[in-house]
């Protein structure tokens, strides 16, 4: 028991096992288990009210879990909260800012809260404002910022202490398409620096290209291996669009190839991109009029939808 705990602590930057928390009679998180390795981005996915934010608050050391074990950068938020806070950059889902203060003042004061010297904090604040493309707002009060700009300020604020772990709660909310692409690039860069990033989001297509790993949550529980298998399965699904679906059905049946007959088109499973090329060539050789052939959409989205269906 102790041996496994130690192993988990030394490998993962964030680990949670069997974490639970209730508010009065409401069980917000029933049983959550996850790990985030340094240098990777992990998505936390689930419907509204499934306990994502509560789990993030417990990981950040703001809420005390009723049960379970949490380690962040090797420290337990219950006993070594200061060390955890030093290691975490937390971007909350609620956008709050000090209305009267400028963006640079906000970041400088935040940095001083992390015991940086005033000079150091201002330098770092100015650099981060550049990173999130808010440099021109450095000396404007934060009340003039739009929702998306506040979101970006919040990201800069979370990075003030150069954290080893970054927890981002709905970071893409309210961002315009360009900012989303920039956010994706920024998150990948941060992971490349060795930071462990945990992102919760509803914009699943966005996450597909950003994350290395995904944790699904439903009704306060993280879903384990069976959902991982579903993600892996979803990644092999290729959708075929043809001018003659009956012909395709006949060809596939004749070739004894399993397929899902969906309204939007047939779906087959291929092991790799090479297999896909081979499958397409074979379909062409059978004279099937294929006009579209490709992955059947976001793997995360597909998994999410199957999970949602099970929920109902």
């Amino acid at each position: 028991m102790v041996a496994t705990t130690t192993a988990a602590v030394t490998t993962a930057a964030v680990s949670a096992r069997g974490v639970a928390r209730s508010f009065g009679s409401v069980q917000a998180v029933a049983n959550a288990t996850l790990e985030v390795q340094p240098g990777t981005v992990t998505a936390l996915i689930g419907p509204n009210g499934c306990g994502k934010t509560t789990l993030m608050l417990m990981l950040a050391g703001l809420l005390r879990p009723d049960a379970g074990e949490i380690r962040v950068a090797g420290a337990d938020p219950r006993h070594d909260a200061a060390a955890v806070r030093d290691a975490i950059g937390w971007m909350p889902d609620q956008l709050g800012s000090w209305d009267n203060l400028t963006c640079l003042q906000t970041l400088t004061l935040m940095g001083r809260g992390f015991r940086l010297s005033t000079h150091e904090a201002r330098e770092r604040g100015a650099a981060l404002l550049g990173t999130v493309h808010l440099a021109e707002f450095a000396d404007r009060p934060t009340r003039v910022l739009s929702r998306g700009q506040k979101q970006r300020l919040s990201i800069a604020r979370a990075l003030m202490n150069d954290p080893a772990v970054l927890l981002m709660d709905e970071p893409a909310n309210g961002l315009d398409p360009r900012s989303r692409v920039e956010l994706r690039t920024l998150v990948r860069e941060l992971a490349a620096e060795g930071k462990a990033v945990l992102v919760s989001s509803h914009v699943l297509a966005e996450l597909d290209e950003m994350v290395d790993d995904a944790v699904f949550m439903s009704k306060g529980r993280t879903l384990g291996d069976e959902i991982a298998a579903k993600v892996a399965d979803a990644k092999t699904r290729y959708r075929i669009g043809t001018l003659d679906d009956d012909l395709l059905r006949a060809v596939l049946t004749e070739g004894q190839i399993a397929f899902d007959d969906e309204p939007a088109g047939m779906v087959i499973r291929v092991g790799s991109e090479a297999d896909a090329a081979q499958a397409l060539a074979w379909l062409m050789s059978k004279n099937v009029p294929v006009h579209r052939f490709g992955p059947a959409g976001s793997a995360l989205e597909q998994t999410y939808m199957t999970m949602e269906e099970e929920r109902r």
Binding site: E69, A83, D86, S117
Partner: protein, 419 residues
């Protein structure tokens, strides 16, 4: 449970080393630090920096106070008067008690609903830093009110007959009372979910201390009263001889005492009438502590003693508000005298007659109330109970605030989220 209390593994933390001037830490410190407290105070003051309109309003207020001061100076006849100083001090207290708790009572639940509290809790600032920093920031506004009135205060002081150390003491006590009210406001802000509720509760607490203690003192008086009976003695006409009756008649009708040359006035007999008047005398010395818990009484008990008889020779102004308050409170603390608690004869017809015949009115020349007033006015001051109440409220409130600000939260305020 053993799993929950499992101590963290001793293995070194992975990941990049923290930046520059920061050192790794252990535990979950909550005590306020000087550096953190000053940072929080600075943040709060920067956030509440007055706008242009705010400065204009402040300027008008300052001009108004100056005008009152100049008006008072023009009206002055040069004699000593402590009333103006006392009014300025009461004004500073009143403004402080209104402004500072209003600010502090919105500063935790308000920040929480704006979503700017949790990001600060996620820094290295401790719960104590946040609590004390916010307390100081709100309290500094009361200090600003005091500084605004300084010119008026100095002028009023110059005519008050007070000594400067006495003024400093009273000002310090006023600032303590305001600090306590600010801390109480902050505690309500940490307990109540909504700003409206915490501001109301903060002012109700102040109101209870100011008025509630007085009301309790008066409403509990029947409980501590003893009943005394006052009776009267009148002429016993049935027992009189003919000569005695004629002599008393003559005195009665036209004040003629000549007849008492023959009749010995001391032989005239009187007797107690039936019944008498029963009434309660409150033993206020048993409940006077209620008054001492009142913050305004505390300020009276911290102000200089002014003797009601000798103030002029003592180089003092005539007794003002605070001296009068001290006298009244001392009266309650001393309570009724032994004589007042015993059944007494309020009117004796025979004694009246003897006095008018012999011309000896010494028994009627009662200047007891003047002596009592002087004794009350110089009775030792009793600020300690009031100071104790203030200190207990201050420390208790800050304890609540720090306990409620410590993360990870075990319990949340009813109807709120973490933010």
């Amino acid at each position: 449970m053993t799993v929950l209390d499992d101590t963290p593994a001793a293995a070194p933390a992975p990941g990049p080393a923290p930046a520059s001037s920061r050192r790794p830490v252990k535990g979950n410190p909550w005590l306020p630090t000087l550096r953190g407290t000053l940072l929080v105070t600075q943040i709060e003051l920067m956030r509440r920096r007055p706008t242009a309109k705010g400065w204009i309003f402040y300027g008008l207020l300052f001009a108004g106070i100056m005008a009152i001061g100049m008006f008072a100076a023009a009206q002055s006849d040069g004699s000593k008067n402590s009333m103006l100083l006392e009014l300025v001090l009461v004004m500073v207290l009143g403004a402080g008690l209104l402004v500072a708790p209003s600010l502090s009572a919105t500063s935790l639940n308000g920040d929480s609903s704006e979503g700017v509290l949790a990001p600060l809790q996620m820094t290295r600032l401790t719960a104590g830093d946040l609590a004390v920093g916010k307390l100081l920031a709100s309290w500094l506004f009361a200090l600003a009110v005091l500084l605004t009135t300084t010119p008026l205060l100095v002028y009023a002081f110059s005519r008050s007959g007070w000594h400067w150390d006495e003024l400093l003491l009273v000002v310090a006590v006023i600032l303590l009372v305001v600090l306590t009210a600010t801390a109480v406001g902050l505690a309500w802000s940490a307990l109540a979910a909504r700003a409206v509720a915490s501001v109301s509760l903060a002012h109700l607490t102040t109101g209870f201390l100011l008025l509630g203690t007085l009301l309790l003192f008066f409403f509990t008086q029947p409980l501590i009263s003893v009943t005394v009976t006052e009776t009267s003695r009148s002429f016993d006409w049935d027992q009189f001889t003919v000569e005695q009756e004629a002599a008393v008649d003559a005195w009665y009708m036209n004040g003629d005492v000549a007849a008492f040359d023959e009749v010995d006035v001391h032989d005239i007999t009187c007797s107690v009438q039936d019944g008498g008047w029963e009434h309660g005398v409150a033993r206020t010395e048993r409940t006077a502590w209620l008054l001492l818990a009142n913050p305004v009484v505390l300020i009276g008990e911290s102000s200089p003693i002014v003797n009601y008889l000798t103030w002029d020779e003592d180089g003092r102004a005539a007794p003002g508000l605070f001296a009068e308050m001290h006298r009244a409170v001392s009266d309650a603390r001393i309570g009724p005298s032994e004589e007042e608690l015993q059944d007494s004869v309020s009117w004796d017809e025979c004694a009246d007659l003897v006095a008018s015949v012999t011309g000896d009115y010494s028994a009627y020349e009662d200047n007891g109330w003047e002596q009592e007033q002087e004794a009350n006015s110089v009775y030792p001051r009793a600020p300690w109970l009031g100071l104790g109440v203030q200190a207990a409220l201050l420390l208790g409130s800050m304890w609540i605030v720090i306990a409620r600000l410590r993360v990870p939260y075990k319990k949340l305020r009813q109807g709120t989220r973490v933010a």
